[in-house]
């Protein structure tokens, strides 16, 4: 039996693989639980999600539920809400946390409405003050941070923005935790939409916000053919390739790989800026990165103001050498 008042994390898997922000959300739940003394439980949903459930059971949790039904094979908002509504009514958790993903943004409002409960979306932090849980959420495209709290009766719903907590801080437990299978009774007829094959629109081909390592190129790369040098480094590191605006403007990389105020905002573990001067328009898109390595010829380049490691020199010489070293180190490991 689940203890009433637990914190429940609804994780997100695709093809049995959990995304990073699900772990970040578990880390958030664990931190909150340390204040409130609640237990933390996690939910994995799908047709057969035992591998994902096993994976997550390694974390320091009280329990993992795998909610299964053939109707959940493919994601639909109707199916997820039909499965989660009775489950939440039965378990009556105090707090339900979701990763703030496109999928969650699709079904969480519907679920909250079905249960007549509020959602705090896009949470980037929390405070625990005199017994009260206060969430910080972004407003006006991140210009403001607002502190908000819930009124009314639990369960409370909140979605956690990617990069706000660290996935590597999701603690492992001493031993795998029990997994309970919940067979959801989801009527196929209640699902009004039919999912087609998942495809990535050209625009969404990469989701740089999920990348742990990003190698990013700027105008210092000089020529289109040199982009390949950076691509090789990204490949060796297992990271994604990105760029500052002039590169995407010139069509050397597609616009969805653009970082900055007119592109994506990322906070990877490692950001390698190659030949990027560091105009503020670019910095606002990557300054949250955990470590920043910058390579630039100009010692005055503003990128060095925020870089953890500054390499002053010609990237056309440095990067291939670095790529070789990475390959060697990986081979040895």
């Amino acid at each position: 039996m689940s203890a009433p008042g637990a914190i429940l994390v609804i994780t997100e898997q695709r093809d049995g693989k959990l995304n990073r922000v699900s772990y970040e959300t578990i880390a958030a739940a664990q931190k909150i639980a340390a204040h409130t003394g609640c237990s933390v439980e996690a939910v994995v949903m799908g047709a057969d999600v035992s591998s994902a459930a096993n994976e997550i059971a390694a974390k320091k949790l009280a329990k993992v539920y795998q909610i299964q039904s053939p109707s959940l094979e493919q994601y639909t908002a109707d199916g997820y809400v039909a499965a989660l509504k009775p489950f939440l009514l039965e378990k009556s958790p105090s707090l339900v946390l979701f990763p703030h993903t496109y999928q969650v943004r699709d079904f969480a409002p519907k679920l909250a409405l079905a249960l007549d409960r509020p959602v705090i979306s896009d949470v980037v932090g929390y405070k625990y003050e005199s017994g009260k849980l206060i969430f910080t959420r972004q407003m006006f495209q991140g210009k403001f941070a607002a502190d908000v709290s819930f009124t009314g009766e639990p369960p409370y719903f909140a979605t956690v923005q990617a990069g706000s907590f660290r996935a590597d801080q999701a603690e492992n437990g001493p031993a795998p935790v029990p997994i309970e299978t919940v067979n959801a009774a989801v009527e196929n007829t209640s699902i009004r939409v039919k999912s087609h094959e998942i495809y990535k629109e050209a625009k969404q081909a990469v989701d740089l916000t999920q990348a742990e390592i990003i190698v990013s190129v700027g105008r210092g790369i000089k020529e289109q053919k040199n982009v390949d040098i950076a691509a090789k480094l990204a490949e060796a590191l297992g990271g994604e390739l990105a760029a500052s605006r002039p590169i995407c403007d010139a069509g050397w990389l597609p616009i969805e790989r653009q970082i900055g105020s007119s592109g994506q905002t990322v906070s990877p573990r490692l950001y390698i800026a190659l030949g990027i001067s560091g105009a503020i328009q670019h910095l606002v898109g990557m300054k949250g990165s955990r470590s920043i390595i910058a390579v630039n010829k100009d010692p005055e380049a503003p990128i060095f103001d925020i870089a953890d490691v500054a390499v002053i020199g010609n990237l056309l010489e440095i990067v291939p050498a670095l790529t070789e070293e990475v390959k060697k180190a990986k081979a040895e490991a």
Binding site: D249, S262, A279, I280, Q281
Partner: protein, 571 residues
């Protein structure tokens, strides 16, 4: 390859009928809409049997919200507002009444204060305002009165039938970089209107088409312009009082430029700081954003800003030409108001009150036209006649030759200004001529020998800590944003001129005169050593300087997809 925005062919445009369409939701356009609404309300109270409707009156505004593209110092002379909305002071967003003023002459390190404030710069009784907040407030009044403002819609083409303007076409939305419709493509509307009122601000893109098409500047001076660059700062309390006005002349400008700088105290902590100069300058390397950065390094200004923080940046052009540059103001189905029509007092550097007044007068003419159901030039000429008989003329006539007197430099300008002061504005000639700004720029080889005193306004600025910023950083603080996947709305008619001629003759002054880093010369990968023009249209702050001052007249500013542009919150 860069594609430039152009009308798509073979597209059907939805039609919309209107009585009056006002292009531009700045002070002139909004005042015009509000005055028209007042007149219709009065009419309907008096003539319940033959009411007029406001349903078919609308304002087109290219910004996401009215006021977001409005930029000024700003000081408001309340005269016109008191006529439009008596007692407006009680509810309008006015920051402070001007209580204290001073004019300084700056040298590179020193300053001296003018013993008296020259009358044109006396501002007691005027208000320090944010033109952005003021326009938003006025826009709400207009909407509350029942007139629709279409935010995010620009007028992009004139609709003409013979000699008459029959409306405007709004810009196409959802066009990609290569001028191909995207999945969200939405063709522009043909807004067919009985009366079209152009209130686009300085160098309006449709106003420019209209003036050229019907030769509206004939027998008048060509319009001349200035550019203003502004930063909003938050500084420690006690340095610039609420309602304090400081004007400076001199450094970093030299005797070759016509202009000056200002600092206005908004609330004891926030200040508006900016610099203007005429675009009829000679040196193609002149850079307004750099001049503003230099101004801040003057010991007098730097001491005020020490420990403060820059909050916002913007730039905008404005008409300097005065009375003799006013184009024909009305024709078949159209009128021009505000900055688009040159209603700015160049001696006082104030135009908001004139813009409002001109909008009110045009509204009165439009109302009479609607009542009479006549929209030809004879009917609408009521408006230019009303301007002629209003205090607009009384204010602009004595300064009709002021700006032209400065075309040959500051010293001669002072001479002419003094003489004009004694002769009721006449000076040496009845009508001082003016020359278009683009024709004033000199080729690199014709520039006088290097003058180190001018280094502070030439070429790019550098960033130094928290005091001065490079252009790209300032642009960030303009909040400008555009849909990235659209053709360039800065239309260069022949880029070969940029890459082959201009590079030698003028050194690509676009890099300097654009205050928003839209124009860059980058290395040409196919021709080692050679440079080619590269555009960053998303940086554009809609100031129109390029359209005005490019020496080959090959740049045309057209509206980008509606909603794009700067975000001048609080400016």
């Amino acid at each position: 390859m860069q594609s430039f925005r152009k009308p798509l062919s073979g597209v059907e445009h939805p039609q919309m009928d209107a009585d009056v369409v006002i292009v531009g939701g700045g002070p002139a356009g909004l005042a015009c809409a509000l005055r028209l609404s007042q007149l219709i309300d009065e009419h309907n109270a008096k003539n319940p049997e033959s009411p007029l409707t406001k349903e078919n009156i609308s304002v087109l505004e290219k910004a996401r919200e009215a006021g977001q593209h409005c930029l000024s110092g700003a000081l408001l002379d309340p005269r016109a507002m008191r006529e439009l909305l008596p007692g407006f002071e009680r509810e309008a967003p006015l920051d402070a009444e001007v209580k204290k003023e001073g004019v300084y002459f700056l040298t590179q390190k020193g300053k001296w204060k003018l013993p008296i404030t020259p009358p044109p710069l006396q501002d007691h009784g005027n208000y320090v305002i944010s033109i952005n907040r003021f326009a938003k407030w006025l826009a709400k009044k207009v909407e509350d009165a029942g007139i629709t403002i279409f935010n995010g819609f620009a007028g992009s083409e004139l609709l003409l039938e013979g000699q008459a303007v029959t409306g405007v076409r709004t810009e196409d939305k959802g066009v990609d970089k290569n001028n191909q419709p995207k999945s969200n493509f939405e063709p522009g509307y043909d807004v067919r209107s009985k009366i079209t009122i152009f209130a686009e601000g300085a160098r309006g893109s449709l106003t420019k088409q209209l003036i050229n098409r019907f030769n509206l500047q004939a027998n008048r001076n060509p319009q001349t312009y200035g550019v203003g660059v502004k930063e909003l700062w938050e500084i420690p309390e006690g340095r610039v009082a609420k309602g304090e006005v400081i004007y400076t002349l001199g450094w970093p400008l030299t005797r070759a430029e016509y202009g000056g700088a200002w600092i206005y105290g908004i609330d004891g902590r926030q200040i508006s700081l900016g610099l203007v100069f005429g675009l009829g300058y000679n040196d193609p390397r002149t850079d307004a954003q750099h001049a503003l950065q230099s101004f801040k390094t003057h010991p007098f200004v730097a001491a005020l800003l020490e420990g403060g923080k820059m909050e916002r940046y913007g730039a905008k052009s404005f008409p300097y030409g005065g009375w003799f540059s006013i184009p024909a103001l009305a024709g078949d189905g159209w009128m021009i108001i505000g900055d688009s029509a040159s209603f700015l007092n160049s001696q006082r550097l104030k135009g908001i009150h004139l813009a409002i007044k001109s909008g009110m007068l045009a509204a009165e003419a439009a109302y009479h036209a609607l009542a009479a159901q006549k929209f030809g030039v004879t009917q609408l000429s009521e408006y230019p006649r009303a301007v002629e008989n209003s205090w607009i003329k009384k204010e602009l006539w004595p300064v009709r030759n002021f700006h032209q007197g400065f075309e040959k430099g500051f010293v001669r300008g002072l001479f002419h200004a003094g003489l004009q002061q004694l002769t009721g504005g006449r000076g040496l000639y009845k009508k001082y001529p003016s020359h278009p700004d683009y024709a004033q720029m000199k080729r690199l080889e014709k520039l006088p020998a290097e003058d180190p005193s001018r280094a502070a306004i030439l070429g790019p600025a550098r960033r130094e800590g928290n005091l001065t910023f490079d252009k790209i950083t300032d642009v960030y603080y303009s909040g400008t944003k555009h849909e990235e996947d659209q053709p360039s709305h800065l239309v260069i008619h022949d880029t070969n001129i940029c890459n082959q001629r201009c590079v030698k003759e003028f050194g690509n002054p676009c890099q300097n005169f654009c205050p928003a880093n839209v124009y860059e010369m980058v290395e040409n990968p196919e021709l080692p050593g050679a440079k080619q023009i590269h555009l960053n249209p998303s940086n554009c702050v809609h100031c129109k300087t390029c359209d005005i001052v490019d020496p080959y007249e090959i740049v045309t500013w057209v509206p980008p997809e509606g909603g794009g542009g700067p975000n001048y919150d609080g400016m």
